[in-house]
Amino acid sequence: MRFWPLIRLVPRATHFNFVGLAPFAAVLSVLLVAGSAASLAIQKVNFGVDFVGGTMMEVSTPGPAPLSLIRQDLDAMGAKDGQVQGVGGGDGAVLRFGNVAGQTAEAGPVFVAAKLQTAIPGLKVTQESFVGGAFSTELMWSGLTALGIALGLMLLYIWFRFQLQFGLGAILALAHDIILTIGFLSITRIEVSMTSIAALLTVIGYSMNEKVISFDRLRENLRKYKTTPLRDVINLSENERLSRTIITGTTALLALSGSMFNVHSALFSLTATMAFGIVIGTYSSIYVALPVILLWGVKRDEDEAEPIKLQPARR
């Protein structure tokens, strides 16, 4: 029972010099942001059928439509972002796909139809036309507006509960995370669909949670140690919450790990993006948000220090 619970193995106090690494982290962050921006500028992101539209093909089969077989065939033919959906009584399917590798826009659907007909005898194409993306420009703008207002209000709340520089640090760190996550989508060529939007929102949510938890410890220690230099207080706070950071981060990654075993699952790109965001969100709390506060400085006047009277332990 000595090793269980495992938490006993975690040292009671650590003394990592988090702030000391900040200059290197700054260089790393700048490089990562620049890399993401460059990738976005050069190859943009790989928008799926949800965004840019593609071909819609309705097929009927003599027996029950073999949906997963059709899906595999679409993938094998190099049809981009293939989606297959059963329709009617089960002997039909709707296929949606983008460009087909090595085929022109006109030849793509013909190629797919011919291949499917040889693969599945008796398959008939009943309809074929162009479909637009489900994610329209207006939907995109309403989403961005919502995100903008949400970020603004979170900034106000953090300003109200902490200080303005905390809020700005958090927003800057969030911007860093968003750029890097989009950069990740761009570099990995993950097809950006509706679910990628959800992944991005999740990353923002997790990252914001990290920032607030980190600020909370910092605020408390700023009140406790009024004359200690800011960089030492930051180091102390981060060391104090280190075990929590590790355990929560591990838990979050474990929650996602289920779908990481299956690379072909529809959830893989979603969870891969979220996992990337969790790592980045944790990193940016320590190395973007806090350095902003360190560079800017914090207000540490006597009025702020009232709660310290409550600190001595009462038995």
Binding site: R161, M194, I197, G205, Y206, M208, E240, S265, L267
Partner: protein
């Protein structure tokens, strides 16, 4: 904080029972659920299109009607331009798909052609969308160029998609999938349980609202084809058998539906019947005020989709820009009309081409793979948290199970649509829920290491951690609520699961574990914390 007060026990037990009761229908087989007594909840999780499929509707924009309307507008534009240029003309009419007119004075034909330069719009590919030609006998013809028809249809489809999305979003979080298909078609897919007839009701109506003056000099027409002055138009009464069957109205639209800022279902103060209360924007209020001031004693007509809903007499100038639409409305039809008015009019009528059932977008195998992944994820979380925190980890795991029950219960109860983005929201709330417990336990360790007795360390741990938990979750809640009210589609679904998750996870992570730990202190009277 660890005292086992009665309200805490009742609250926790109550929410556990709530969670179990409302989640239960999801795991019961159909025949058991059918025999379930009526007072127990029956609602199951409302799975989205991507997870369970639903029904699909294929609509086509009525291009003939669109064409007709565009020609009528074009004729009105021509009329206004000629009026402005003070050119006399006659025989202005829409014939054979083009607008034709005759200029009275032969010397003014050139001036009229110049005035016609302003009518019509631009093509996206450059150039004008109309062609003006001079015909013998002082006639002028204005026709749309062939490309205009396609452009109009495309624009109508894009606008219709946005209007439909607003309408369906106002019905609740159904998360439909709306796409353009070909040039003039729209496919709408709505998840499983949603009622296709309800969707058709909401989508099928154009909901074009106008306010026009009644031409009191024209008398009472007997049919829609009676001759009327060129500035007038005949419209039927929407309620057959009540009042006069047809009205002669001025063609000029005083105020139209685009100038409404808000409409809602209300009650008529005299009859107490359901009605629709609306408010105009600034421009609309001004125009309506001026028109009513100049026409006291006359009637104006409220026209919906080319039928007169009502034609009240103007008693006095109506300023302030507020009004009611009364008629024989039920609560439901009044609410639906308000919804339609709020989401704007369709640019052209839509025809249903096909309606069919569609399977899950992700495919059954993908959904199963997702379920397995989530299962593995949850199992790993439980294993890890118990390994890390021992007995307290078991408490946290119990709290997590209660949390899941409550979330599924709340999602089933509110009938919000759960989609893949929503599941992402669920994973985030699970992680944050565990985080709350981790924060509390780490605080307890700090306090115990600082030399407090187990009970005091546990108590202080809870109190200290609460500030962090509070701040972090208020921040998340702000974001979730904003995204819910401003976002659309997948953003909305994500925000809804996230808001439910924030509430339930704070509740379970703080209260449920507190109760369990408090009870453990009572029973075991420990000398040390298991985690210190």
């Amino acid at each position: 904080m660890l005292a086992l007060s009665r309200w805490k026990i009742i609250l926790v037990l109550g929410s556990v029972i709530f969670g179990i009761l409302f989640s239960l229908p999801n795991v019961l087989p159909d025949n058991v659920l059918a025999q379930w007594p009526g007072f127990l909840p029956h609602a199951r999780l409302n799975l989205g299109l991507d997870l369970q499929g639903g029904s699909s509707l294929l609509y086509e924009v009525d291009t003939d009607a669109l064409r007709k309307e565009r020609l009528t507008d074009l004729a009105e534009e021509a009329r206004t331009s000629l009026h402005d240029a003070q050119i006399e003309f006659s025989d202005l009419a829409v014939v054979n798909g083009l607008v034709s007119l005759r200029v009275t004075d032969p010397t003014q034909v050139d001036a009229a052609l110049t005035a016609m330069n302003k009518v019509g719009g631009a093509l996206q590919t450059g150039g004008r969308d109309v062609m003006v030609t001079r015909q013998p006998d002082q006639h002028i013809q204005i026709a749309f160029v062939p490309q205009a028809a396609q452009q109009d249809a495309q624009n109508a489809v894009s606008q219709s998609i946005e209007v439909i999305r607003r309408r369906i979003d106002l019905l609740g979080t159904k998360e439909p999938d709306i796409r353009r298909q070909g040039t003039n078609r729209i496919t709408i897919e709505a998840p499983g349980e949603s009622d296709p007839q309800k969707l058709r009701d909401v989508i099928g109506q154009t909901a074009k609202l106008t306010f026009q003056m009644v031409d009191e000099t024209a008398g009472q027409p007997q049919s829609l084809t009676d001759p009327v002055p060129p500035d007038d138009v005949i419209m039927a009464n929407s309620e057959v058998g009540q009042g006069q069957p047809f009205y002669v109205l001025k063609k000029r639209v005083v105020v139209s539906g685009e100038m409404l800022t808000h409409a809602q279902q209300g009650f008529d103060q005299q009859s107490n019947n359901p009605d629709i209360d609306f408010r105009f924007n600034g421009a609309g209020a001004r125009r309506f005020g001026e028109a009513t001031m100049q026409n006291v004693g006359k009637r104006f007509a409220i026209v919906l989709d080319n039928k007169v809903i009502s034609a009240p007499v103007i008693e006095s100038a109506i300023m302030g820009g507020q009004g009611q639409i009364t008629g024989s409305y039920t609560l439901e039809s009044a609410t639906q009309l308000a919804l339609l008015l709020n989401s704007g009019a369709l640019p052209a009528p839509l025809k249903v081409i096909a309606q069919e059932k569609v399977g899950a977008g992700l495919g059954a195998d993908a959904v199963r793979a997702g379920e397995i992944s989530l299962g593995i994820g949850a199992a790993l979380i439980f294993a890890f948290i118990i390994l890390a925190y021992g007995l307290f980890g078991v408490f946290a795991a119990i709290a997590l199970i209660v949390n899941l029950l409550m979330m599924f219960g709340a999602l089933s109860m509110t009938q919000a649509t759960l989609t893949l983005p929503g599941i992402a929201g669920l994973i985030l709330t699970m992680a944050v829920a565990v985080d709350a417990n981790v924060l509390i336990y780490e605080r307890m360790r700090d306090e115990a290491n600082a030399g407090r007795t187990p009970i005091s360390a546990a108590d202080t741990g809870y109190r200290r951690a609460l500030t962090s938990i509070f701040d972090a979750n208020v921040t998340t809640m702000i974001a979730a609520l904003i995204m819910f009210s401003f976002g659309a589609g997948p953003v909305k679904g994500f925000a809804w699961t996230l808001s439910i998750g924030v509430l339930t996870s704070v509740f379970t992570a703080v209260l449920v574990t507190q109760l369990l730990i408090g009870w453990w202190f009572r029973v075991a009277r420990p000398k040390a914390l298991p985690i210190a």
